[in-house]
Symmetry: C2
Subunit: 262 residues, 2 copies
DNA sequence: TAATCTAACAACGA
DNA sequence: CTCGTTGTTAGATT
């Protein structure tokens, strides 16, 4: 996206679902049109477009969706909830499988933003060292999985990635944080980065599309236990089970991932 | 207290438990000494002493305790965590059975105070009409009892009073708010005010002392079902049971107070 | 299947 | 007999 849309000037936007926005449609349109894109960045599951005049467009695809580029005169993607056109005729659409966020904020609003403002460090950033993770875990008492997918602790782990991160670290999702050994924290840290790096390397999940509509290649065969209910564990061949953990589900190997310590 | 301490000037304070305060002891002492008491008021379970220069002393006895007056030269109460002396030699002590708050704030701090600032209307105030209660209940879905004892909704109902309020209104503590009929809301409103008014009339609970050390007269024989486990219901003679409701206990008549609607 | 908010609820500690 | 904090859960959302 950086290559494709930076510097371009916004000519117009179409909002098909006003509830995606954090303000009335008119105000949104008035504020955004005429500004140029300064930079494109990401924090966890949020995409951040910096606009001229210290305005920021924050996008989160929620349960899933796509952001697709279109060239001047070329065919538009069929389905979308939001469309943005630049003054050269190119642009992009955003579609949500269910719901998502398209929020416009100034720099003050960015700091105070309920979700983006409270994000933890992204997993693959330099600063996300073992020491940093140790510091986050210190003094906590909840379940490991709830901790991992809470974006305020660290940004980037969703339910899909949590599956194999836990399996690789041999941790039960409901393992209590304050019972983790030093060795287990090391394994957890390594697993987190390995699983995410692998997905990035493969261009994301297979059901996700990139800016040009190309699907990722991180697919079912790359998962170790995630979504493999009834299949054998790749390590010990025990049958993989699906369990309820809080409001999400987790696929585990009941033998490799026990709740009790070590 | 209004009669006894208003206008007097604070000569000194002794803080025996610094955790009761919201600031370091020295700062507290320095701010408070030399000021006069302007007025004494109450909001729910909080006592509010207004001092000269827009300072406020907020006192909450927590699980219980007493505030006792002493005359110049007279014997002090034996046990206390806090003592305040006026320049005429009189004063008062505060004792907590377990834990309590003695917070000093300015008018800005009063508005922003975590507990006092968010208190709902006091039960016996003029404005606490049936319409007001109806408005508070509107759109809620939780249990009636949790609602009643949450001081942000209305100030003044503790676990003791909640017992008979619910019994008189024939409501089970876990009755869902959104299933209450108009009639039940009327009964609830009346019961709340009756139970509180009765206690005020009797000078408070029997295990509580007033400013002069005199105990209240609202005692066990005035309770209808509260703390009467195993005794017969005064209406239908069914045996009163003690049940767990959230983090508190409630004494109910299983026949008069059913969970289901009407 | 996926992500997040909110309200309600529970356990713990001061 | 009280309260804040933290964590957990169910329900809701487009």
């Amino acid at each position: 996206m950086n290559r494709e849309i930076v510097v371009k000037e916004i000519a117009g936007v179409d909002v098909l679902q006003h509830k995606n926005l954090n303000m009335p449609v008119e105000k949104f349109v008035k504020t955004i049109v005429g500004r140029r894109i300064i930079s494109v960045g990401a924090r966890g599951k949020w995409l951040i477009l910096e606009l001229q005049g210290m305005q920021f467009l924050l996008i989160n695809l929620g349960m899933g969706g796509d952001i697709l580029h279109f060239n001047p005169g070329a065919a538009m993607p069929e389905a979308y909830k939001f469309r943005l056109r630049f003054n050269d005729g190119s642009g992009f659409t955003i579609n949500f499988w269910w719901f998502g966020y398209i929020h416009l904020v100034d720099s003050e609003g960015l700091k105070k933003h309920k979700m983006v403002g409270e994000l933890g460090l992204s997993l693959l950033e330099e600063g996300f060292t073992l020491e940093h993770l140790r510091g986050l875990l210190k003094g906590r008492k909840g379940n490991v999985k709830a901790f991992l997918i809470d974006q305020r602790n660290m940004a980037g782990i969703g339910n899909v990635y949590a599956q194999d991160i836990l399996f690789k670290a041999k941790l039960h999702p409901n393992r209590k944080i304050n019972t983790l050994t030093e060795r287990e924290m090391q394994d957890l840290h390594a697993s987190m980065r390995e699983v995410l790096a692998k997905s990035v390397e493969k261009g994301g999940l297979a059901y996700e599309k990139d800016f040009y509509g190309k699907n990722g290649r991180f697919a079912g065969e790359d998962f170790l236990v995630g979504y493999k209910e009834g299949k054998p564990c790749p390590i010990c061949s025990t049958t993989i089970k699906k369990i309820k953990t809080g409001s999400t589900s987790t696929y585990i190997c009941p033998k490799c991932q026990k709740t009790s310590s070590t």
